[in-house]
Symmetry: C2
Subunit: 444 residues, 2 copies
């Protein structure tokens, strides 16, 4: 078996999914809508041999939404433009199964997969924010369980459409006038609970067979979906202990379904704070904490509860009783907030600092950060990380100082061995569902 290798993704979040990053003077104010900013970051990540770039998304905003989400390029168009300006790095886009048509989604990702010559990935989400419903002709968001049932069927349909043509469906033989071998075009004729889709899709498979499926969602239902369909997950893990618990749970669920657990790559988010020395890095991180506005942190905690207004509660009283407040939104996250706040008897102010930002143990010298990464990797809390690269200085230090250490230790590639996303992630090309099984050759 090939040696287990660390995987690295770069989440390109422009001016930031938080309310503070944009204040960094090194970050262009229009980063989120400037395709050249994305192309530049993607090229930097590619030069550092990252597996992929990762674009998060959401179909709902309010005036209080964090800067990046307020005004940003859309993932499929963005990634297609980046595809034309890169050659190796994987291109993963987030798209919700709650408010799209499977036929359109199948086409756009398959098209990106051709455009990038086999580098496309789809991060399947169900959308947490309930207001999204209002942008799509519905009075209310789908209930949490329904969202996941739809997601499961949606992905099944999309993957079915991706196999509309066998790999040798197009002889394009001018002599006989045969462009298509009609016997190798397949209708799907899916009729399910949530979708009916006939097909076929007007796109053949790419060099990697099908786009790679990622998934993000942390509740029990979210993990069940991931175990069933994901080939990679964007994990919410923010400390080693919960990270390794998630890792073990997800892989066990996949194994129980008969899947090879090595074929789900677990990649938590990683927000690094890097400096020459540990002391310096800690000082930078502390200064950043000191500059946080409590109002903005409360807004971000509110996001788990569909933008519930936390500003109306006493800051130094115990975390408020939220019975009656919706958990239908980010259920996994909301339950975690309530549970930990109770277990650790947090005040609202403490909870705001704890849950209103992506907390990170990746603070220190390049050596320290590399050690922590190695600990998570060898300790099976992660197969890799999705670096959130908003702060230019930390991204540069990560590429220039941390990555070389990981390479020296043999944890991370020094050069690409492949040029498809599946190749980078060590994932097999899925067999075509209509292909004949290979004829067994009798031994002797």
């Amino acid at each position: 078996m090939a040696k287990r290798q660390l995987h690295l993704g770069a989440i390109l979040e422009g001016v930031g999914a938080d309310h503070h990053s944009w204040l960094d003077p090194d970050l262009p104010g229009n980063a989120s809508i400037d395709i050249n900013w994305y192309i530049e970051q993607a090229r930097l990540a590619e030069a550092a041999k990252f597996d992929l770039i990762f674009i998060v998304d959401s179909p709902y905003i309010t005036p209080d939404t964090a800067p990046h989400f307020l005004n940003r390029l859309e993932p499929l168009t963005l990634l297609s433009a980046v595809a034309a300006s890169t050659s190796h790095i994987g291109l993963v886009g987030t798209l919700t199964t709650s408010y799209w048509e499977p036929y359109n989604v199948a086409r756009q990702f398959a098209s990106l997969d051709h455009i990038s010559r086999g580098r496309a990935g789809w991060n399947v989400v169900t959308t947490g924010l309930e207001g999204a419903a209002l942008n799509y002709g519905r009075d209310a968001h789908f209930e949490h369980g329904v969202r996941y049932a739809r997601a499961r069927e949606f992905v099944e349909v999309v993957q079915g459409l991706w196999d509309s043509y066998e790999d040798d469906a197009f002889p394009r033989d001018r002599a006989s006038g045969t462009f298509l071998d009609k016997s190798k075009q397949h209708r799907l004729d899916h009729k399910g609970t949530h979708f009916s889709v006939a097909g076929p899709l007007a796109l053949s498979r790419s060099r990697q067979g099908q786009p790679v499926i990622f998934q993000a969602g942390d509740s029990s239902e979210g993990r069940a979906l991931g175990a069933a369909i994901a080939e990679g997950t964007f994990a919410a893990s923010q400390d080693f202990e919960s990270g390794s618990a998630y890792y073990a749970d997800l892989k066990a669920r996949a194994a129980a379904l008969g899947r090879n657990p090595d074929h789900i790559i677990v990649m938590p988010g990683l927000v690094p704070t890097i400096a020459e020395t540990d002391e310096e890095a800690r000082a930078v991180a502390e200064a950043a904490q000191g500059a946080l506005s409590i109002d903005k942190l409360l807004t971000q905690v509110g996001r788990f509860f569909n933008y519930h207004d936390f500003s109306k509660y006493e800051l130094d009283a115990p975390f408020p009783d939220l019975s009656g407040v919706t958990l239908n939104s980010y259920k996994g996250g909301a339950e975690r907030v309530i549970r930990i706040a109770a277990e650790e008897k947090l005040t609202l102010r403490q909870a705001a600092y704890r849950f209103g930002q992506w907390t990170s143990p990746f603070v220190g010298s390049p050596e320290t950060v590399a050690n922590e990464i190695e600990r998570w990797f060898t300790g099976r809390a992660a197969d890799g990380f999705n670096l959130r690269v908003t702060r230019p200085r930390d991204f540069a230090l990560f590429r220039e100082k941390v990555v070389p250490i990981l390479q020296e230790r043999g944890l991370f590639r020094s050069d690409y061995a492949d040029d498809t996303l599946r190749g980078h992630l060590g994932l097999p090309v899925p067999q075509h569902r209509h292909a004949q099984p290979p004829v067994a050759i009798a031994a002797e």
Copy 2:
């Protein structure tokens, strides 16, 4: 007023929307799924100072569909990749209002508009082929009139979403910590017959304000839609007489709605056959006619009637009676076929040659083709043309021989004067619906 200028688009149809073009040995068999082929054609068109490239589309195929449509890149992803590899040429993509969500469409075109720095256009179609319904969870296609009512409201919603932010909505002032001026973010709160969409959209306007709206559809209802919303039309006109009748009709309809008729650019399709001399060109065109397969022509005529099977009728008998056959599909085209077949007493075979291909009067030497273009342009049958560039030889001759003649005559630009699609087409930047009207300055 600026002198009226001819506009040129290049329809990039890969291996062809007909059943014969792919046999051309100069055309790569995988053109329709090779992004490098599209980028190369777009660059050639840009070098020849074309206004735009144009991507047609359809969300439904059968085994009998013409080669290009069977297996091709999707318009938004395709155009985003081309955007990153070009600098001036407009990028127009076709997308149906029958099977998408307005919020997603608004975002993707707005994103393309940013990526291309103001070069995006959307060709609004309602989809003719009834089988598309089966790919989107419906038993039957929307009825023709309903399709157009939905299209009208759909475009209204999308344009509303495009004005979610005023142009100065983002001060991004680090000193005061103000990223967004919240008073300049606007919800749409549209509640209509077919759609309800709250907004806002998470994208500001581009350099050209909003993407340019094209439209294709030839029935009376189709023209009514074009007159109301289109800033350009892809016209079905295949001869001067019907072309000038369409032109006059469309512009009169627009004027009746209080619009400036110069702000709808009429661009019929143009299939050129060019050679050194008229005789040679006619011989090439005749040889091409002789090579056509009658079966394939019948399939193409059938397309107007939702792939009605014409092979079951007598070829040399009068064009069959089609009462009972659906006109809900390509109504404008179907009615035209029936009307002309009756008026001119065509046999089925004659009708197949007449309607089973895009007939073209643009056959001859470069001079002859330029003359015919000038005749349509000055005679008000067209404001420009959408060149169907499947045959590499004719595209090369058009760029190298015909365009210079048009330039010498002062009909067509010799260099770009602008770098947005609106700029090329002479269209105004739409005023923002929430912007304050400029304060009138009292004259003395």
